[in-house]
Amino acid sequence: MTTICDSAAAAVAGIEDGATVLIGGFGLAGMPIRLIDALIDQGATDLTVVSNNAGNGDTGLAALLAKGRVRKMICSFPRQSDSHVFDGLYREGRIELELVPQGNLAERMRAAGAGIGAFFCPTGVGTPLAEGKETREIDGRTYVLEYPIKGDVALIGGHRADRMGNVVYRKTARNFGPVMATAAATTIVQVREVVEVGELDPEAVVTPGIYVDRVVAV
């Protein structure tokens, strides 16, 4: 069952200290800014955050980092022109970083959502990011064994949702949202508009309601 929440605060209620939080978005496209702001107000700390980047400027994920709420970032691309908050914390040794190639980040969350125990992946073979990982040659090619990344919570930026929780995205803001929605125990989606059941084209629904626990229009 999907709950349509009245506020971002209600949507993020109950996120616990120590939780692993998957946060959608690629840069600002698809970033669930209002949910992150609500999470800052909510106060959960000691978080592990999984997101493609590690915050831009001083708002959203960067603001969550600045408050010292994040123990560890799992991401592909922390270093950006405006990632000064993360950069500072990292250089001061105040945040852990697990760097994951972008496709592995997506595929490991997809595996978590799809009940796959682990998978042999060709990405990163022979590089420092595969060091210490199990490898195997299959059909003449070398692969690295990669494990799922599960979330306790996913915070996602969608475009529209119906009251059953079916979600559509808009353009490249889709990015990690649909994958993260499958990989978390509790999936929370901010959308621009909640519509009545029947208003979304069933052929074009990207995240079916089964993956969505809470929706808030912001």
């Binding site: 496209a29 994951v100 496709g103 990405t123 420092p128 353009k171 490249t172």
Partner: protein, 218 residues
Amino acid sequence: MTLSKDQMAARVARDIAHGAYVNLGIGQPTLVADHLGAESGVVLHTENGMLNMGRAAVGDEVDQDLVNAGKIPVVEPPGAAYFHSADSFAMMRGSHLDVCVLGAFQVSAAGDLANWHTEAPDAIPAVGGAMDLAIGAKSVFVMMTLFAKDGTAKLVPECTYPLTGVGCVSRVYTDLAVFELGGGTDGRDVAVVETFGTSYDELAQRLAVPLRRAHDRG
């Protein structure tokens, strides 16, 4: 005459087949798009989830939901398609793209690529989609200056920077020459396809990799 960045981009574009599916890495490779007009039939992929990506958006076209892998706003031409990050990297990892053009810090004679991390003391590592791109496309082209600002060669016997991918680069386009890698019995034979403002002999003197002329197919 040595080639300008724009001329290098044009030279890369010349080697991209009509109708190819192509991913252009962020930075200099993006310039290749300027030389792939509609008549090229080339379809651009951006790993944040779009096929048939259009040019950079200007003015009112800018839409925060529609960006490329460098987070630059782009436009949506007719025939575009959107997909999520796991599908996008499946497309890449599954060898469906014909060509990927990447920048590099170093390329080895055997086609090893180093383009993600300099190991500078204060550097924050960030990999993004580089490792996925390196091993995904049917052909990986590198576009770079042949020598670093300090004069050291970037086409080297063995990479000293951390690797992005092993034996993945097939061609290297530089301001001074175009090289084809992976020839010879040991796969470490570097063929000089074309030179610009220099000569084969001069290159042979300045580079530590074993060169041969491209027409010397033996």
